[in-house]
C-alpha cells in the first residue's frame, strides 16, 4: 500500500475515534493554557521591572537635581555631603534586573525560584537575603506551574500513548494482522506509516502552538533563536517517544500489553529515573548551609574594622594599585585612615566573593552530577534545554548573580578611586556613575 493510502485510512480511523480527537484537542487547549501562564509571568515580571525602573529613575533624577542646584546636603539628612563619592553611592538607589525573555511563554523553568530584581548597594552581595524569589504559595511552587514545557515533557508522551496504544494490538487481537501483512508489502512499512501519521498530526499541533506562543510575546523580534530551538527540541523529544512506542508496538501483540509497557516507560522516564537522580544528588551533594558565607558576613567583615591601618592599606593597595599614587596617599595619616574606613567595603566585598566561591563550586558539582545523569535521564535533559532557551535555567540565574557582582565591583572601584583622589562629585561625575 502506498503511504498516502495508509495515511488516508488512518485519517478515517482517527476522525471516527472521538476519544483520540478529544485527546488532541485537549493537548492543544492545555498547551495554550500553559503558554498563557508563561505569558502571564512574562507580563508580571516586565510590569514589576518597569515599575521599579520608574521609581529608580525618579530617585536618581531627584539626586541629580541637588547637583544641578549646587546643593551639597540632602534635605532630610543634612549631615550627608553629596560631593563625596561614598555618599553619592550610598544615597542613590540602583537595581540590577534579570529581564524576562519573551521565550518565557514556552518554559517558566526556574523563574519562580529566584528573584529577578535586586537593589545593589556598595555592601551588597549576590547572595543577600533580598535575592529571595517573589512571594508565592510554596505548595504551588512545589507542584510547579503548568507551562508549555510541562505539556511537551509530560503530556505529549501521554497523548502519543493514547493515539498509538491500539495500533497493531487491535489487529492482532481481532485476527486481522495476518491479512494486513499479506495486503501490505511490508508490515514494518505499514506500522511506520500508521505511527508516522499520528506523529505528524501531533507535530503539526505542536508547531501551531509554538507559533502561537511566538505571537503572544515578542519572540520573533527578541528571541528568534529560541523559537527555532523550541521547534528543534520539541521535535527531538517527540521523536524520542515515538521511537520508544514504535518499538513497543512492533514487538507487542495485545493492546493491554502495549499500553502497560508504554505507561511503564512513561513512569520510568518521568517519575522514577528523575526521582532517583534527585535523591541521589541530594545525598551525595547535600544542600549547602552557607556557613562560609555566614562566617565572612559576620566574623571576617567585623574583623576588618579592627585591623591595623597598615594592614588595611596593604590590602587596599593590592586591590587598587592606583591608590598608591592618589592624592590622599600622599597626605596626613588622619585623611588616609578616613579613606581606608570608607574603602573597607571593598575589602568586605572581596571577602564575600571568596566566601561564595566554595558555595558556587558545590552548586557546580551538583549540576555536573545532574548533567552526568542525562544519558539515562532524558526528561530532565530536555527540561533543562527548554529552560535554557527561555533563560530560566540555573546557569542564567548564576549569570544574573555575576552581573550583580560586576555592578557591585564597578561601583566600589569608582567610589574607592574617587575617594582616594578626592574627587568632588558634581552633576557630570554623578551622571558618569549612574547614567552610563
Amino acid at each position: 500500500m502506498k503511504l498516502l493510502v495508509l495515511f488516508l485510512y488512518e485519517w478515517k480511523h482517527f476522525v471516527r475515534n472521538p476519544f483520540k480527537i478529544v485527546a488532541v484537542v485537549l493537548l492543544a487547549f492545555v498547551g495554550f493554557y500553559g503558554m498563557s501562564n508563561g505569558l502571564s509571568l512574562y507580563e508580571r515580571q516586565t510590569a514589576e521591572i518597569n515599575k521599579i525602573e520608574t521609581k529608580v529613575e525618579k530617585g536618581q533624577a531627584e539626586m541629580l537635581s541637588y547637583y544641578e542646584r549646587g546643593e551639597k546636603n540632602l534635605k532630610d539628612k543634612p549631615w550627608v555631603d553629596l560631593t563625596q563619592a561614598h555618599q553619592a553611592f550610598r544615597n542613590t538607589t540602583v537595581y540590577q534586573f534579570k529581564k524576562p525573555s519573551p521565550a518565557l511563554v514556552y518554559s517558566i523553568g526556574q523563574a519562580e525560584q529566584y528573584g529577578f530584581y535586586k537593589r545593589v548597594e556598595l555592601s551588597s552581595s549576590p547572595y543577600d537575603e533580598d535575592m529571595a524569589a517573589e512571594l508565592a504559595n510554596p505548595e504551588r511552587l512545589q507542584v510547579g506551574t503548568l507551562d508549555f514545557a510541562f505539556v511537551v515533557l509530560y503530556l505529549l508522551p501521554l497523548l502519543l500513548l493514547i493515539l498509538l496504544y491500539n495500533i497493531k494490538g487491535a489487529e492482532a487481537e481481532g485476527g486481522s494482522l495476518k491479512l494486513i501483512e499479506v495486503q501490505a508489502n511490508s508490515s514494518f512499512g505499514w506500522l511506520v506509516a500508521r505511527v508516522s501519521f499520528y506523529a505528524f498530526i501531533v507535530w503539526m499541533v505542536l508547531l501551531g502552538l509554538i507559533f502561537c506562543g511566538a505571537l503572544l510575546t515578542p519572540v520573533f523580534a527578541e528571541a528568534s533563536s529560541a523559537f527555532l530551538k523550541m521547534i528543534f527540541f520539541t521535535t527531538a523529544y517527540m521523536a524520542f517517544w515515538v521511537l520508544i512506542y514504535f518499538l513497543i508496538i512492533r514487538r507487542g501483540q495485545s493492546i493491554i500489553e502495549n499500553t502497560l509497557l508504554m505507561v511503564g516507560f512513561w513512569l520510568l522516564f518521568t517519575f522514577i529515573v528523575p526521582g532517583v537522580v534527585h535523591q541521589w544528588v541530594s545525598i551525595s551533594k547535600p544542600t549547602t548551609m552557607m556557613t562560609e558565607m555566614i562566617d565572612a558576613k559576620r566574623e571576617k567583615k567585623d574583623k576588618l574594622w579592627e585591623e591595623e591601618p597598615a594592614v588595611l592599606q596593604e590590602q587596599l593597595n593590592n586591590l587598587f594599585p592606583a591608590i598608591t599614587k592618589s592624592s590622599i596617599a600622599q597626605k596626613e595619616e588622619r585623611k588616609r585612615i578616613q579613606a581606608q574606613k570608607r574603602s573597607i567595603v571593598a575589602l568586605a566585598n572581596e571577602l564575600m566573593k571568596s566566601a561564595t566561591q566554595p558555595i558556587e563550586k558545590q552548586n557546580k558539582d551538583r549540576n555536573e552530577l545532574i548533567d552526568f545523569s542525562f544519558w539515562f535521564n532524558p526528561v530532565s535533559f530536555f527540561q533543562n534545554q527548554l529552560n535554557r532557551l527561555s533563560n530560566t535555567h540555573y546557569d542564567d540565574y548564576q549569570n544574573y548573580r555575576q552581573d550583580i557582582q560586576q555592578l557591585i565591583d564597578k561601583q566600589i572601584e569608582l567610589m574607592v578611586l574617587d575617594t582616594w583622589n578626592e574627587v568632588s562629585v558634581d552633576k557630570k561625575r554623578y551622571q558618569e556613575y549612574f547614567y552610563q
Partner: protein, 470 residues
C-alpha cells in the same frame, strides 16, 4: 461469600508470577526509597547540626560586644528536618533552609534546595510519597481492572452468579481485595519506616503515621472502587481502562497544577516590592531607633524623663538608647505582624479554596493530608517561621535590655557586654508542631476523603445492581 472472593483474588495475585514478581519488585523499590529517604534525612540532620553548632559557637566566642552591635551581628536559624519528612518532603525543597535573625527586620527564609541546582525532577525525589501517591494508584488501577475484565472475558462471572454469589459481594470483594493489596504496600512503608527509626518513635509520630496510613488507605479504596465500577459497568474493557487512566492523569497531573495556579490567581499575593514598600511606608511612621533627632524619639524621650522624674537623659540611671531601640523594635513588630498576617491570610484562603477542590479531586485532599501529617506542608512551615520570629523578638529584647539596664549610660555606644552575657542568651530550639494544635486544619481534607469513600461505595452498589452481565 465476600471473604471467599477476597481470598480467591489474593490466591490469584500470589499465583500469578507476573504480579508476584512486580509486587516483589515494587516492595523492593519502596524499601529502597525509605532507606534512601532516611539516609538523606540523617545526612541532612548532621549538616543541620553542624551548621547550628558552628553559628552558636561563633556566638559563644563573642568576647565583648555592644549589645546593639550584637543585634546587628545577629544569628542564623536553620530549618531542621523531621523523621516523617523522609516519607513526604512536601514544600521543604522550595522554602529555603536558612533565616537570618537580626535587629530591626523580620527576614525570610532563603537558599532553597531548588535554587541551588538545575531542575531534576518535576515530581520530587524518590520518596515513599512519590511511589504511594503516583505509582501505587496506577498499579491498583491495572490490578482492579484486570480483576474484573478477566472474570468477564473468561465467563467466570456468569458462573459465579449462577452459583449464587451476590453481585454486590463480587464487586465489593474485588474492590476490597485490591485495596488490601495497596494497604499491604502501605504497611510495608510504615513498618519499615518505624523499624528504621524505632528509637525515635513517640506518640506524636505514631498518631501522625496512623493518620497518614488511614488517608492513603481511603484513597486506595476510592481508586480501586472507581476502577471496578468502570470495568464492571462498561462492556468495552479498553474504554474502561483508558477512562480510569484519564481520571488518574486528570487527578494527579492536570488538576493539582491548574487548581493551585487558579487559587493563586483568585487570591493573589502582592509582589515582593509592593510588600516591602508597604512595610517600609508603615515602618517610617514609627520611631527610628538609630535617629535621636527623630520627633517620635524626642516625644518618647520626654515620656521616659517624666517616668524617671529627671530633666535630662544624662541623669537617667539607665541607657536610654536601649529603650529607644526596643521601642523601635516594638513598633516594627506591629508593622511586621500587620503585613505578614495579611500574607498568611491570603495563603490560608488559598489553602481553603484548594481544600474545597477536593470535592472534584480526592488526590488533592490526599496531597494535603500527606504533607500535613508528615509536617511538611505550608502550615507547618509557617509554624516554624512563627517560632523563629518569636525567638527573634526575645533575642533582640534580651540584647536591648542589656543595653538599657546592663550598666551603661546613654550614648555609650562603645560599652560592651561580657562574654558570659552572650553565652547566657538562649539558642533557638524548634518545637515540632503538635498534631492536636493543627488537626482541625485537616478535617476538611479528611472529610472529603470520607465523602469520596461513601461516594465510591454508592457507585459500587449501583454497579452491582446494574451489572451488564445480568
Amino acid at each position: 461469600m465476600m471473604f471467599q472472593i477476597i481470598k480467591n483474588e489474593w490466591r490469584f495475585l500470589i499465583r500469578s508470577k507476573v504480579i508476584l514478581g512486580a509486587s516483589l519488585g515494587f516492595i523492593a523499590l519502596l524499601i529502597v526509597s525509605i532507606l534512601l529517604g532516611n539516609f538523606q534525612a540523617k545526612k541532612q540532620e548532621a549538616n543541620y547540626k553542624e551548621a547550628k553548632d558552628f553559628v552558636r559557637q561563633q556566638w559563644n566566642d563573642i568576647k565583648e560586644m555592644n549589645p546593639h552591635g550584637a543585634a546587628h551581628y545577629g544569628t542564623y536559624v536553620f530549618k531542621p528536618s523531621n523523621l516523617l519528612n523522609s516519607l513526604d518532603e512536601g514544600v521543604n525543597g522550595v522554602t529555603g533552609n536558612i533565616i537570618r535573625v537580626e535587629g530591626h527586620v523580620q527576614n525570610e527564609m532563603v537558599h532553597s534546595e531548588a535554587s541551588q541546582m538545575q531542575v531534576v525532577s518535576k515530581f520530587g525525589k524518590l520518596k515513599s510519597s512519590l511511589l504511594l501517591k503516583y505509582i501505587v494508584p496506577l498499579l491498583l488501577i491495572f490490578l482492579a481492572f484486570h480483576a474484573v475484565s478477566v472474570e468477564k472475558q473468561s465467563g467466570r462471572l456468569k458462573i459465579l452468579l449462577m452459583q449464587g454469589s451476590k453481585p454486590s459481594s463480587i464487586i465489593f470483594g474485588k474492590a476490597l481485595s485490591i485495596t488490601l493489596y495497596g494497604i499491604g504496600l502501605l504497611t510495608v512503608v510504615v513498618i519499615t519506616q518505624s523499624l528504621l527509626n524505632f528509637q525515635n518513635l513517640d506518640s506524636e509520630i505514631i498518631k501522625r503515621s496512623a493518620l497518614f496510613f488511614i488517608s492513603y488507605s481511603i484513597f486506595y479504596f476510592v481508586i480501586c472502587g472507581l476502577t471496578i465500577f468502570f470495568a464492571s459497568r462498561w462492556q468495552n474493557s479498553t474504554l474502561a481502562l483508558t477512562s480510569m487512566l484519564s481520571i488518574w492523569i486528570l487527578w494527579t497531573i492536570f488538576l493539582p497544577n491548574i487548581l493551585l495556579s487558579s487559587v493563586e490567581d483568585w487570591h493573589p499575593l502582592p509582589s515582593r516590592e509592593q510588600f516591602k514598600s508597604a512595610m517600609k511606608e508603615d515602618r517610617s511612621k514609627g520611631m527610628d531607633g538609630h535617629n535621636s533627632r527623630d520627633e517620635r524619639s524626642k516625644a518618647f524621650e520626654q515620656e521616659i524623663l517624666q517616668k524617671y522624674n529627671v530633666d535630662t537623659i544624662a541623669d537617667l540611671p539607665i541607657n536610654f538608647d536601649g529603650l529607644r531601640m526596643q521601642a523601635d523594635e516594638d513598633f516594627g513588630n506591629k508593622v511586621w505582624d500587620k503585613h505578614f498576617k495579611e500574607i498568611r491570610k491570603v495563603l490560608t484562603t488559598q489553602k481553603r479554596s484548594l481544600q474545597l477542590c477536593g470535592i472534584v479531586n480526592p488526590y488533592l485532599s490526599l496531597q494535603n493530608v500527606s504533607m500535613g501529617f508528615t509536617l511538611s506542608d505550608n502550615l507547618h512551615h509557617h509554624d516554624f517561621l512563627a517560632q523563629v520570629e518569636t525567638y527573634r523578638r526575645r533575642f533582640i529584647k534580651i540584647l536591648n535590655d542589656e543595653q538599657t539596664f546592663g550598666g551603661s549610660k546613654t550614648g555609650q555606644w562603645d560599652w560592651k557586654a561580657s562574654s558570659d552575657f552572650y553565652k547566657s542568651v538562649p539558642d533557638f530550639e524548634y518545637q515540632p508542631t503538635a498534631l492536636s494544635s493543627v488537626f482541625r486544619n485537616y478535617l476538611l481534607d479528611l472529610g472529603l476523603l470520607v465523602f469520596w469513600l461513601f461516594f465510591t461505595v454508592f457507585l459500587l452498589s449501583r454497579a452491582s445492581k446494574k451489572m451488564p452481565i445480568l
